[in-house]
């Protein structure tokens, strides 16, 4: 017996619609909730520490007796590791994407993409130990002054870690470039290399830049790798050979420690997390804008 009268199926449709809407709203609430808690706790922190000292101070010693809350060493540590990661991931990622989209045969493509996806599925903690136990000792043989904890090794490993991400997004952007542009370029007497680098890549530029921005955003937010291999010493430096601490690594340090809730040290992680939140939020917005303009170009 079927009870599916037009009326009841309409009600069902509506209920399914509501269920989906609810799921959507839930994710929105969670995001807003996190932001509210973050900023509320951070507000308490700024009741005791001046915003100016926090943003422009060059010493970060919240766990010492003489406390300083200048976030710049953490910001610099974060940017240093991320920059090294980008130096590895962006050129290599773009080259691999160019190869995949312009040179590789369909068969090579089909077998190479899953390999990259496997690389993307390795837990970040594995990369952390890889950096600490393999890459750092190896680098120490080449660079004598390198300390056991440093920005260089996790930076390089992080670059390899986000490589699949850069490749995949860049490849998407390049394959979205209409075939007719390649034909126009060949018709003008371009070599394959010229088609790839002087037509397809520039035509995909906003998509490629979006990929890079998203990669930076991931690097900035990456935690386990740097917590393990970069050290826990906030240093106001751009020297990649000495230990540094990133924003995320500091949050791990305090969260895992026995800092009681409600103390200034405890609240400081909300303040630094807010900075991280704002930073990644801006990067993601920027990437989204770029991708939208890319889609618009070839709509």
């Amino acid at each position: 017996m079927t009870s599916a009268t037009p009326g009841s199926s309409h009600v069902k449709e509506q209920m399914v619609g509501w269920a989906f809407k609810l799921c959507g709203l839930l994710s929105l609430f969670v995001t807003v909730g996190i932001a509210v808690v973050l900023f509320a706790e951070a507000a308490h922190f700024f009741g005791e520490v001046s915003v100016v000292e926090f943003l422009f101070g060059t010493e970060w010693t919240p766990l010492f007796t003489e406390k300083h809350f200048g976030i710049l060493p953490l910001v610099l540590g974060t940017l240093l590791v991320s920059a090294i990661a980008m130096i590895v991931a962006i050129p290599l990622g773009i080259l691999i994407a160019v190869y995949l989209s312009e040179y590789a045969s369909a068969r090579v493509r089909r077998s190479l993409k899953p390999i990259l996806e496997i690389l993307a599925s390795i837990p970040t903690i594995v990369f952390g130990y890889f950096a600490l136990l393999s890459v750092t000792p190896f680098l120490q043989k080449i660079i004598p002054g390198l300390s056991g904890f440093n920005a260089l090794s996790p930076g390089i490993v992080m670059g390899i870690m986000i490589l699949p991400f850069v490749v995949s997004l860049t490849d998407d952007a390049m394959t979205a470039v209409p075939h007719s542009l390649r034909m126009a370029a060949y018709g003008l007497g371009s070599t394959r290399l010229q088609v790839a680098f002087r037509v397809v890549l520039p035509s995909a530029s906003s998509g490629v830049i979006a990929a890079c921005v998203l990669a930076v955003s991931r690097a900035v937010g990456e935690t386990m790798l740097v917590a393990i291999a970069a050290g826990m010493r906030p240093t106001f430096t751009l020297n990649p050979l000495v230990p540094v601490q990133t924003i995320t690594a500091y949050i791990v340090q305090v969260s895992l420690g026995d800092t009681p809730a409600g103390t200034l040290e405890y609240r400081s992680i909300f303040a630094v997390a807010s900075v991280l939140f704002v930073l990644t939020f801006i990067l993601n917005m920027l990437a989204q804008k770029l991708r939208a303009s890319f889609k618009f170009t070839y709509a």
Binding site: S180, L181, A184, G187, G189, S190, R198, T297
Partner: protein, 251 residues
């Protein structure tokens, strides 16, 4: 009258499909040759064979000989890159690069290594003038090519091709996506260019073929049915198939 192309027993296959069947044809130098025929009869395939764009299509295969000014375009000494600079192509849908108007026209020169700003400026202007687009764009060369109308974009694509100074212009239904005004402007410009270069144009528009061309080739199911001077072909087609096709299209 000299020939730009002498084509002998050209066959083109895609996988198992025999798209161009044993076509032999001599295409005269600095005249307009029109290629007509029903959809799917191999006109585009034939056109693409002449600057070796078919080589880019995987699974396409060719037999037969194409001589360009007496030289076999498939001989090992001939690079397809140089060949395509000498034999330019304009496509059915305008396909400007998402660059500025200037950069579009300068592209072909830059990939050949031309860097000098003054020469580039001069060559870009000259090409835009030849394509009858200069007055409309001279004040906005830095703007995106996408801001132009469809007809302007198509003339830009012609200018881009002319910039590298080709000896032949292959056009595959260049007016298919344009309105009558845009079409008229392109026809006017092709008639001017005819004095300098060889033009081969694929068209579905019989009036256009009649107005523009000096010689016409009629294709049917991959075969070249008839080839001759335009007036003769339209006044007294020798073959019934041609007569039916032309009559059908004049209504």
């Amino acid at each position: 009258m000299s020939n730009a192309f002498e084509i002998k027993n050209l066959n083109i296959y895609y996988n198992g499909l025999h798209a161009v069947k044993n076509v032999s044809i001599d295409i005269p130098h600095t005249l307009i040759t029109a290629i007509i025929g029903a959809s799917g009869c191999g006109k585009s395939s034939f056109l693409r064979a002449m600057n070796r764009m078919n080589d880019l299509i995987p699974n396409s295969r060719r037999t037969g000989e194409i001589l360009f000014h007496g030289v076999d375009i498939h001989q090992p000494m001939m690079s397809e890159v140089t060949l395509r600079r000498r034999i330019g192509m304009v496509f059915q849908k305008p396909n400007p690069f998402p660059f500025s108007i200037f950069d579009n026209v300068a592209y072909g020169l830059r990939i050949q290594g031309m860097r000098d700003k003054a020469t580039l400026d001069q060559r870009v202007e000259e090409s835009l003038r030849r394509a009858a687009l200069w007055p409309e764009v001279k004040d906005r060369l830095k703007q995106s090519a996408f801001a132009l109308s469809g007809g302007q974009q198509q003339r830009l694509c012609i200018a881009r091709t002319l910039a590298v100074d080709p000896e032949v212009l292959l056009l595959d239904e260049p007016c298919a996506s344009l309105d009558p005004t845009g079409t008229a402007r392109i026809e006017e410009l092709l008639q001017k260019l005819e004095k300098e270069i060889t033009i081969i144009i694929v068209t579905h528009n019989m009036q256009q073929a009649k107005r523009l061309s000096d010689t016409v080739g009629f294709f049917h199911l991959g075969e070249l049915v008839e080839f001759g001077r335009t007036e003769e072909m339209f006044e007294h087609p020798r073959i019934q198939l041609t007569r039916d096709y032309i009559m059908g299209h004049f209504g």
